[in-house]
Symmetry: C2
Subunit: 256 residues, 2 copies
């Protein structure tokens, strides 16, 4: 049974995952980060030692590697020989681990994480993959301690999930940011948009997004669309996004 | 005091506003729609008579006009002489009503409405404007019966609110739709994205959107961005949106 865990990485995901693991009774024995400040900060939260040198990584039941994709291979080569290792990357195939370890897999919580904001792990889908059924079983038991929604997702599917998450989270948040800055320019407060934002998110629990759509683009209300493009005349980049997304909404509606 | 109301229009907004008014104890005396099916359906819900002929509009304390912007002028000319009239359009200036009525204004609930989905009006910001302080006061008393958040918003500000609502609701919902279709193509269910969607919406209650941003674009993770663009190689339109929005996220981060 997995009990002692080392965390390689101290970014947003590692921070929130570390906290959730600790809260679920797991033992984080060590945190690694290349950056001492990050390593130290997370170690303080998790009340465990830290290192900035992978050659001093302690032995544990599981190493969770949560570093930038670009840094992954270099990190892996330095911890070669660890017995059980997972990475947490949405877009990285499991097999990247194959040449380094005997038991390896993926532990991908599908959520947006920030260091400053705690999240309730119990509702987060955790997507698992492992190179053996036995190790999958161990990972599942671990994930079950954190979340009600644990499922097998292969590397091909996970790539798509990650891409979809970029659209439905990062790109969505960017549109929140655009809304915020449009209002700020006219002395209005972003809080005015919050009931709309929340309802838009909750609506798609009950309706398919295509059926939930409203607004000028879906009904091709050219009068309003042109008014909006005029309002954006000093922001050519937003104008471009407005046009493309409106066109895409209209096309989607009419191709179904 | 406004007690008897006629609704001109039977679309999404008129339907949900009519229900909320009725629930708050107001009396909807008549519904008009050009389309008999729509008029009849809403009249059935509101338990009131309907008409498809504006010349038979009954006298009421307030006429709420909620029709497509393109149809507005024609409708207004046909109800010229009504004593108190408001429209509900985000992008339509109040003054469009000036040549038809003595007391006029705008009653704009900032929310996404669908006929099929009921919403809790009490949290919806209602944006008011009126041509006299007395009529504003009457509208405010009416709006206060529906919502906790009633505020004065002039026509210039309301245009911007509407534009911001398109970004933060319609465009956001389109990205939910893209997520849905990406998952569907690979046999996965949209429900996997729902905890992420909800957290993304809730996160911006506590953090400014620019501080809530995560993902490959904001950290300019070219490896992942290129993987995602490759995954979209058979969807050039989504590829284009992906590039533009990613670029915009990165620029925004680095211009602040």
């Amino acid at each position: 049974m997995i009990q002692n865990i080392s965390l390689v990485g101290a970014g947003n995901l590692a921070t929130q995952l570390g906290k959730a693991l600790k809260q679920a009774g797991l033992h984080i024995i060590q945190v690694y980060s290349r950056t001492e400040t990050s390593a130290k900060a997370l170690a303080a939260v998790l009340e465990c030692p830290y290192t900035t040198d992978l050659s001093t990584l302690l032995k544990s039941d599981l190493v969770i590697v949560s570093v930038k994709d670009d840094a992954l291979e270099q990190v892996l080569s330095q911890i070669k020989g660890s017995s059980k290792v997972v990475h947490t990357g949405g877009s990285v195939p499991m097999d990247i681990l194959a040449s380094y370890f005997n038991k390896f897999g993926v532990f991908y919580p599908l959520q947006t994480f920030s260091k400053k904001r705690d999240v309730d792990f119990s509702s987060i889908p955790i997507c698992l993959e492992a190179n053996t059924p036995e190790f999958y079983d161990e990972l599942q038991k671990l994930a079950d301690r954190l979340s009600k929604t644990v499922s097998f997702v292969n590397s091909e599917q996970r790539k798509i999930l990650h891409l979809a998450a970029v659209f439905t989270c990062n790109f969505v948040n960017h549109f929140y940011q655009i809304g915020d800055s449009l209002l700020e320019d006219k002395g209005m407060d972003f809080s005015m948009l919050q009931p709309l934002i929340l309802e838009t998110a909750q609506k798609v629990k009950d309706l398919k997004p295509i059926d939930a759509q409203t607004g000028p683009a879906v009904r091709f209300d050219e009068t309003i669309i042109n008014k909006h493009l005029n309002l954006l005349s000093d922001k050519p980049e937003l104008q471009k996004i407005y046009s493309f997304v409106s066109e895409s909404i209209y096309q989607t509606k009419n191709s179904k």
